[in-house]
């Protein structure tokens, strides 16, 4: 037989070392006390009980006899029993076995026993005789056959009789057992989560398994054979560890017990050891299933089978041990609480359950337990089946395989247009849009009233309309739009998407993000004295240049707050003239610019004609009419898909990963596989939304919300490009582009903007100055590009980004837009 495993040896050593008292010391002390000290008295009492139990069925010696025997044998129960047996019934065959057994007790067990149970206060002389070698020499199979089957049904009552005066005796053993076994199960959750959900999961898995069984008979056989192999493996393991059993005190204690229990305990020990390790590695579900004291198991049978062993340990033995760890051991007076020298000697509740399951699985007695045991298998099987059958080819979402282009043409959809509202800060962009939505009944009276009330409470009643667009607490408290607000409305001819851009200088990146999604722009200008002028120096100018360089051709100039200048025609014309001059230099065509006077706060000339008598001079269209008359932009539906991610968010419980953004080119439908660059991760489009309505497909020009599957949100960043795996976007580290300089451009660090994308980069090289109209090279390698000049430069990026030829970018530095560029191939 193999020597003890290193682990056990270490444990033994540790026990011996940790307990400050060595066996020898103890024994030296023990016989010293002639008068029975408290401890001795206790030992005597317990010893008497033990002996009585050992002998109870066959021989009934008097207490005095037992005590005498114990006294003579220094509380050695075994010897006493032998002595008594020899004395009272010399023909008993197991007597020699009895005497033999204690000799085999391991050093460790002796120590533990002496220290804690003290019932078998073995004399010191026994220990030296026990070398580990001798211990391991003894074959295991002797155990069962060496004891005669003494089934002592009365043992319980007799024990109780003896323990009547100890407080713990009156507690029903069943209850004691329950108390301590119970905590083990919830603690199964240590491996991750409480046992409850896993219980559910286990049940669900069991049900699933059953269903599968019903469907596929051959598979059931598989699982069965699996179980059987598991059993076989377990048995093999048991054989392997049998050596350990020999020295285990459980075997020692079960000397005179019925062999059934003995067998069980022997099997349990290795079973536990080997089942414990896989337990921690196996999925939680199975763990929980295994650990569950399910009523379907025949566990009660095991428990209710009283044995000698149980009676010796008063049925509470192992449970007591579980509670009092080995840390209690040094205190000898604790011993009578039934400390078990080796807490692992007895089968753990887990093992009992597992065993029971195993048994029932083999014996096919309990049907419920079979799927339970096979839970892990069935789960993994079903999972693997799933992955094999479905994952690679067919996505979870079935594509309808629509020809989106045709569908789009068939649908005769209303014209669609996205427009961005731009202008200097505090020129009333958000308020104007709030008014527009309110007048078009997109926002109802109640919400406006509510907003108005809220605005009044913080003393900003004029912001109520703007709050339709500005929804975050920061925006409201500061009274400034920070990020793009998206909203929808519909006229008879067109469905509009509003992109309300922030006017503040710091949020130009957000404005760029909005402008890059727009078909045309509404430039809002405050007609108030000085406001217009300050705006022209500030963001009125910058925004106008930016939308132009982002490709917006058509511009509606809404001259706002006309009520503050009492609808003065001269003011309107002054602003119109100045703006026309400026915008034409910014290469807007005068034909595509419309000027509309309006008042956002009061709503004049927004949706309805102005009624103010001062405004009688104006006969033009209202803002809505102007919006309606705008020509829709051309869509690149036929081109490969390009979508710039404008937002990544959690679209709800059903849609943990959602993105939104404008489809720049191409089309999309539910079920499509998309590729996200630069992460190069694929995802499946679960469903699509346009304007908060679920749709089957979406085409270029629409701002779509995509609910994705099969992707982690960490792969999605703002500004990333979504494309089809068939025609991916290339990633570039540096690109050449033609720029129109707004500020001096020299080799310097810049921020590169493209839609939501904001990246660090630098102008690496000034290639050439180009003629503004002809595009011919005017000067090579200029030192500096002055504002208004067109040049060809090379921009190097900090990291690789998906930028293609023909894409418009904006270069900014230090809070100023330095240049707008068009990437060259």
């Amino acid at each position: 037989m193999p020597p003890k495993s290193g682990f056990q040896r270490a444990k033994t050593v540790a026990y011996e070392d940790d307990d400050g008292y060595s066996d020898d010391e103890y024994y030296e002390d023990e016989p010293g006390g002639d008068a029975l000290a408290d401890i001795s008295a206790e030992q005597m009492r317990l010893g008497t009980i033990k002996v009585k139990e050992a002998l109870s069925s066959t021989i009934q010696p008097s207490d005095a006899e037992i005590q005498e025997a114990l006294w003579h044998y220094y509380f050695d129960v075994g010897k006493s029993v032998t002595y008594l047996k020899n004395k009272l019934e010399p023909t008993r065959s197991e007597a020699p076995a009895q005497t033999k057994k204690p000799k085999a007790t391991s050093r460790f067990d002796q120590a533990a026993k002496v220290a804690n149970t003290t019932v078998k206060n073995a004399p010191g002389k026994q220990i030296p005789s026990l070398s580990p070698f001798a211990r391991t020499q003894r074959p295991l199979h002797r155990y069962p056959c060496s004891y005669s089957p003494i089934v002592l049904d009365s043992s319980f009552s007799s024990a109780e009789y003896f323990f009547w005066d100890t407080p713990w005796c009156n507690v029903p053993p069943s209850r004691l057992g329950e108390i301590t076994i119970q905590p083990r199960y919830p603690r199964g959750g240590l491996l991750g989560g409480s046992s409850k959900p896993s219980k559910l999961a286990a049940l669900a898995a069991a049900r699933k398994k059953k269903q599968e069984e019903a469907k596929q008979k051959p598979n059931t056989n598989d699982t069965k054979s699996n179980i059987e192999t598991d059993q076989a493996v377990a048995l093999l393991d048991k054989l392997n560890v049998k050596g350990k059993d020999d020295s285990s005190p459980s075997a020692q204690h079960s000397d005179s017990k019925d062999p059934k229990m003995n067998k069980i305990s022997q099997r349990k020990y290795p079973n536990r050891k080997n089942s414990n390790i896989p337990l921690s590695l196996e999925p939680e579900v199975e763990e929980a299933a295994g650990a569950e004291p399910s009523p379907a198991l025949d566990l009660p049978d095991l428990r209710s089978d009283p044995s000698d062993f149980a009676s010796i340990l008063c049925a509470t033995h192992n449970t007591e041990t579980e509670r009092h760890g080995p840390e209690d051991f040094p205190l000898t007076y604790n011993s009578f609480r039934g400390f078990n020298p080796d807490p692992f000697a007895k089968p753990s509740p887990d093992d009992i359950v597992l065993r029971a399951q195993g048994k029932s699985a083999i014996g096919k007695t309990a049907k419920n337990s079979q799927p339970k045991n096979a839970n892990g298998d069935s789960l993994s099987q079903s999972v693997s089946k799933l992955s094999v059958e479905e994952s690679p080819q067919t996505p979870k979402v079935k594509s309808k395989n629509l020809n989106v282009v045709e569908e789009f043409e068939k649908s005769n959809m209303k014209r669609m247009a996205n427009f961005v509202v731009i202008g200097h800060v505090d020129h009333g962009k958000s308020t104007l849009m709030g008014r527009l939505l309110y007048d078009l009944k997109v926002v109802d009276q109640r919400s406006i009233d509510k907003l108005r009330k809220e605005a009044e409470t913080i003393g900003k009643s004029s912001f109520a309309l703007a709050w339709v667009m500005d929804q975050t607490s920061e925006e409201r408290s500061r009274g400034v739009t920070v990020d793009i607000a998206t909203n929808y409305f519909e006229t008879d001819k067109t469905r509009f998407t509003i992109l309300d851009a922030p006017g503040h200088k710091d949020f130009i990146p957000n404005m760029i993000a909005g402008a890059s999604q727009a078909d045309f722009a509404v430039l809002v200008i405050d007609a108030g004295t000085n406001s217009f002028e300050s705006g022209l120096k500030g963001q009125t100018k910058e925004h106008a240049l930016l939308v132009r360089s982002l490709g917006v051709q058509r511009l509606i100039v809404a001259i706002n707050k006309m009520d503050t200048v009492s609808w003065s025609q001269s003011r309107f014309e002054e602003i119109t003239n100045q703006m026309t001059a400026f915008l034409t230099t910014a290469s807007f065509s005068p034909k595509t610019i419309t000027f509309i006077p309006c008042a956002g706060l009061t709503g004049e000339n927004v949706a309805r004609k102005v009624e103010d008598t001062n405004a009688a001079w104006y006969h033009g269209e209202t803002l809505i009419q102007a919006l309606d008359s705008s020509e829709p932009a051309k869509r690149n539906i036929e081109k490969p898909l390009r979508l710039t991610i404008g937002d990544v968010f959690r679209g709800g419980i059903l849609n943990p990963v959602s993105i939104s953004g404008r489809i720049d080119a191409g089309s999309l439908q539910a079920g499509d596989t998309i590729l996200c660059m630069p992460s190069a991760e694929t995802a499946t489009v679960k469903s699509l939304e346009v304007e908060n309505e679920p749709v089957d497909w979406a085409v270029a020009g629409q701002i779509a919300t995509l609910h994705l599957a099969d992707i982690d949100p960490i792969h999605l960043r703002l500004g990333d490009i979504v494309c089809t795996p068939q025609s991916p976007v290339k990633l570039v580290k540096s690109f050449g582009c033609k720029i129109l300089a707004f500020e001096h451009v020299m080799p310097m660090g810049v921020d590169v903007f493209r839609g939501r994308l904001q990246a660090e980069g630098k102008v690496k090289e000034l290639g050439a100055l180009l003629g503004k109209a002809s595009g011919e090279v005017v000067k090579k390698k200029p030192r500096i590009v002055k504002p208004g000049e067109v040049a060809r430069v090379v921009v190097e990026l900090e990291r690789e980004l998906p930028l293609e030829a023909g894409v418009r970018v904006v270069l900014r530095e230090g809070g100023n837009t330095v240049a707008a560029g068009l990437i060259e191939g």
């Binding site: 929804q471 975050t472 607490s473 920061e474 500061r478 920070v482 990020d483 793009i484 607000a485 998206t486 909203n487 503040h504 710091d506 949020f507 990146p509 132009r548 360089s549 290469s587 404008g646 937002d647 990544v648 968010f649 959690r650 939104s660 908060n692 703002l718 033609k738 720029i739 129109l740 001096h744 020299m746 080799p747 310097m748 660090g749 904001q758 660090e760 630098k762 102008v763 290639g767 180009l770 503004k772 109209a773 595009g775 011919e776 090279v777 000067k779 090579k780 390698k781 030192r783 500096i784 002055k786 067109v790 060809r792 900014r812 230090g814 809070g815 100023n816 707008a820 560029g821 068009l822």
Partner: protein, 410 residues
């Protein structure tokens, strides 16, 4: 860095100097000091393999004093470690001549340097600067935007990006406002946790004593209100968690405006008037303002500001970078050139400008100002008088290939 022993002769500036690095920053100085072909002597641990007569080999690690002739240097910015490789130049019992060895310079372990061609003015300048005992300014800065925070430390000679925090903050959406707020909250929490990890406020006893004389100022910069909101959050967290060191830090936090959440807007932050007043004496603030001055002149385009190696050389040749406002801006990256001749060329340029009475500013390539200079070709000059068309001859070298006339961009 302490100069333990200097045997640099005044005559021909040759001879060894023994230095003791004490600060992580000293490694940066050492990196700037050590050139290929220089001799470096330092303690090293080397595995010595010996073969006995019978052919058995045995190896053991031995601490040796090794002198190597440098072939290359490698500086790890984040860790502040300097690895110098070279060939053994002085033989001893264990190592033969010419064997390769890489010395890892360590703090508080002296090393001796002997410049191969003697100590030139730039090297001496570095040495002087390195041994400047004055307590150096240190500033922690967080350049942030919504969802992005760059945590960096600015020392006298370096700006080191310690950590970039990126947290996805959902944009505001109709009906999804709390997603945004939650995202911001999460971002702030992450940023603060990361910052605290680097700041080490609690610190070890020794460290906190060392820093007792002055709390390290913390600079928060962002576009919009992010920095203010973050400061509010920090205050709130300090009160909520009763974090005393953090509470003590709050008053010394500076909030500034930057135009972008990227690191290169640091230069703009440092140039802001509010900060200039507080940081005026520091090298990086000086460098930044110098670069700003240069940029302003360049924008003015009056021919007084030139950049790029060739142009600057020409300008110096013409004597334009001299007495009366001539400034040569040069990145110390140029002096770390692997080729000795290359370095000599730049040292010569510096010395010429000095002779002519011009001002020479060596900018640290690890600062933002140095990076800006790097974009301009590592060297730039402000001239005393305007010079036009310094780049003209250059143009004639070019072939006229870029004639592909495109549409007008805008």
């Amino acid at each position: 860095m302490r100069l333990l022993k200097s045997s640099i002769s005044t005559k021909d500036a040759s001879g060894p100097a023994t230095l003791l690095p004490q600060d992580p920053e000293d490694m940066w100085h050492a990196y700037n000091l050590l050139q290929p072909t220089d001799l470096l002597r330092a303690k090293a641990i080397r595995r010595i393999t010996s073969t006995s007569d019978s052919g058995a080999t045995s190896s053991q690690r031995m601490a040796l004093d090794l002198t190597i002739s440098i072939t290359s240097t490698d500086f790890d910015i984040a860790a502040g470690q300097l690895h110098v490789s070279g060939t053994v130049a002085v033989e001893n019992d264990f190592v033969r001549l010419g064997a390769f060895h890489t010395l890892d310079l360590e703090l508080n372990r002296a090393f001796t340097v002997e410049k191969s061609g003697g100590w030139d003015s730039v090297a001496l300048e570095v040495l002087r600067e390195a041994c400047d005992a004055e307590r150096r300014a240190e500033l922690w800065a967080v350049v942030m935007g919504e969802g992005v925070a760059n945590i960096c430390v600015i020392t006298e000679h370096q700006t080191i990006l310690r950590q970039r925090v990126e947290v996805a903050v959902p944009r505001k959406r109709r009906g999804g406002v709390d997603g945004h707020d939650k995202g911001v909250e999460k971002f702030f929490a992450t940023a603060l946790a990361t910052l605290l990890r680097y700041l080490d406020l609690g610190g070890t006893k020794v460290e906190s004593e060392a820093r007792e004389d002055r709390t390290v100022p913390l600079l928060l910069a962002s576009p919009g209100f992010t920095a203010q909101s973050f400061l509010q959050y920090v205050k709130g967290e300090a009160t909520r968690t009763n974090n005393k060191p953090l509470m003590a830090l709050v008053p010394s936090v500076l909030v500034a405006h930057s135009s972008s959440p990227h690191l290169h807007s640091l230069s703009e932050v440092l140039a802001s008037p509010a900060l200039k007043a507080r940081l005026s004496d520091t090298k990086y603030a000086r460098e930044t303002s110098l670069m700003d001055k240069f940029m302003a002149l360049l924008r003015a385009d009056d021919g007084r500001a030139w950049y790029g190696p060739k142009e600057v050389h020409k300008a110096v040749d013409k004597g334009a970078v001299g007495r009366g406002g001539g400034v040569l801006l040069i990145s110390n990256g140029l002096f770390r050139a692997q080729k000795v001749a290359e370095r000599k060329k730049w040292v010569a340029l510096v010395e010429r400008v000095r002779e002519e009475g011009g001002e020479v500013r060596v900018l640290s390539s690890l600062h933002e100002s140095g990076k800006r200079l790097e974009n301009l070709g590592n060297v730039a000059a402000i001239l005393t008088f305007p010079l036009e068309d310094l780049d003209e001859e250059e143009e004639s070298e070019d072939t006229g290939e870029a004639d592909e006339g495109g549409d007008m961009v805008i």
